[in-house]
Symmetry: C2
Subunit: 356 residues, 2 copies
């Protein structure tokens, strides 16, 4: 990774802010020496943590912002009155070119509203989407939208396919990402109209990598495709259900192992296997809800993240900047529109070729 990029950090967002944000930045800097940081937050709260990390302090600017967005603030209110919050000013740094990406662990709705308002959208993208990486039996799968849009039209889903596929490439999920649209069955006649239409469009216009048509809910944990496209309502339910299933499993495993002296002894022997599982599915490694489709890189770190989780979100942002995410998406969407136009022209030769 090249080192000439600057990351704006909302140092006041998240349960463990500002400590976890500064420590997370320090960990990211160890992984990618040469990153630069702009911290936005209360300087009195930040300075002591920064003082302990001279390597980081040497590559960081501290911008004192006394205001911050609270977890319970409504997005509309933040848009109106939150211009001087650490979150808003960190986003502005990207809009003004002083940083190439922004990472925040704060209020998701406010972050999306501010980022949308301040950064705008990429050319050819009507609505941004929230994406995240899910662990699967076969590896990792990008799922989007996870909640930005409760209702989506066919054209949104087609754009999500491009947004998700380019992200899958840059985040190392797959060089030639396969994409599926989430549906209630895999036959082409099944499901909602907008989904069938999005599927038909991607088949007709063509997709730069692999389009696999419809996938089902079970295909997410099975890892049947690298990118699963869905609307933000279904995606949000799926994300939270998967998280809840994780708690469910942990709860009953614990209960089963604690149920008798025999199973408690079993737990001692099983410990290496359990620890291996815990490491393999450390939620911190999957930290980072990425806002795709904005004219700037914006990553939402989980509100409960510790420093390691924050460092992972920062590295995701750095990889997207490094790979030129926005430019690539714009190129792919434009190529898709060109193919669509060419197909339309080919199917009506009179208009396309003949004299008027």
């Amino acid at each position: 990774m090249t080192h000439s990029q600057t990351i704006a950090l909302d140092a006041m967002g998240g349960d463990q802010a500002p400590a976890a944000i500064i420590e997370g930045a320090a960990m990211a800097l160890e992984a990618v020496p040469g990153l630069k940081f702009l911290f936005f937050g209360e300087s009195g709260a930040l300075a002591p943590f920064l003082a302990r990390r001279p390597d980081l302090a040497a590559r960081a600017e501290l911008h004192h912002t006394p205001e911050k967005v609270a977890p319970e603030d409504k997005p509309a209110a933040v848009l109106k009155k939150g211009k001087n919050t650490s979150m808003a000013l960190a986003i502005s740094a990207v809009a003004e070119g002083r940083a190439q990406s922004i990472v925040s662990g704060g209020n998701t709705g406010a972050l999306m509203a501010l980022a949308m308002f301040t950064l705008g959208r990429l050319p050819g993208i009507d609505r941004p989407a929230i994406a995240s990486v899910f662990p699967t039996i076969r590896g990792r799968t990008v799922v989007l939208d996870l909640g930005a849009n409760s209702v989506c039209g066919a054209e949104n889903l087609v754009q999500f396919a491009v947004l998700g596929a380019v992200f899958a490439r840059l985040s190392g999920v797959s060089e030639n990402p396969s994409v599926g649209i989430l549906n209630v069955g895999t036959e082409e006649m099944k499901g909602r109209e907008e989904i069938r239409e999005a599927c038909a469009t991607l088949r007709r216009v063509g997709f730069p990598w692999t389009f696999k048509g419809f996938v089902e809910g079970s295909d997410i944990p099975h890892g049947a495709v690298d990118v699963v496209v869905t609307d933000g309502f279904t995606g949000n339910v799926a994300l939270k259900l998967a998280e809840g299933m994780g708690h469910f499993t942990a709860h009953f495993l614990r209960e089963a192992f604690m149920s008798s002296w025999l199973t408690r002894i079993g737990a001692v022997f099983a410990w290496p296997a359990i620890r291996r599982l815990k490491r393999q599915f450390d939620p911190r490694d999957y930290n980072g809800g990425v806002f795709l489709g904005l004219n700037g890189i914006c990553v939402k770190s989980h509100g409960g993240s510790d420093a390691y989780g924050v460092s992972r979100a920062i590295l995701t942002a750095a990889r997207m900047v490094e790979g030129g995410y926005g430019v690539r998406v714009a190129a792919e969407v434009s190529a898709l529109h060109e193919r669509e136009k060419a197909l339309a022209a080919a199917s009506s030769p009179d208009k396309a070729g003949g004299p008027t």
Copy 2:
């Protein structure tokens, strides 16, 4: 349970039919002596299995039906040409009053289409829904719709709340069921319009048991409510995702325990705990997708069910007949409409009380 009920069985539906169907009926009969059965299927295939179970044979009628619905048959084609299939004739037995319920392990789409066409809907119910019971941290939760309706209006969701709550009472999930509508957050302003409207209606008109407003995806495995109401698209994705997460967990548990000699020894000691978990979440105990809202009891047994699973689906049907499911739903829906009318009258006193 009283014993004066007859269950019509599609003996040709499911991967292990007809053996699992007949054995399942025998197991159900052991649990509830006095049940009667009508078997629909190829008599040559059924007779040998029935001959081995004289107790069952004494309480069963065998109806020879050479035709059957195949798993890949389209519902529309079955509606048109499938009148003499074992599935269609078993449903007709309910419509004609010769049986009080029908259980099939066959093609879900065909079963719903035939049952809808032959039995019709309960008074006050516009669309039937498919429900099932999910295991949760706190016990069991009924989720509906799991796939009958990809798109639902507010009035459908309100009716699903009644359908699900009455089922939760009869299936022993809860005497005073709490109901939530699945959404992307728990605040009243979140989510899709039809969901907000259904929530507002249930709050305004009142609900015979407990209405808890919105719940999120994680609330299903956590068991936050006894009944989760959603549209058939979201419900189907959730059902399949939960199944897939089960495979995911089993896969990685196996892999973790097989990863070294130490963890293999651990697996031996952990075996009682693992066996306990397997028993606790035996999918056969959750067998039976129940079609709610039809004018007759229809239970879809999982296609891959063995005899024990089939017996559980049969007992679910028997409990619903015993509890008078249809009559109860009709009474609750009618009471809900009465309250709605009374509220409307109260809010416009001129029209309701005054002279014109």
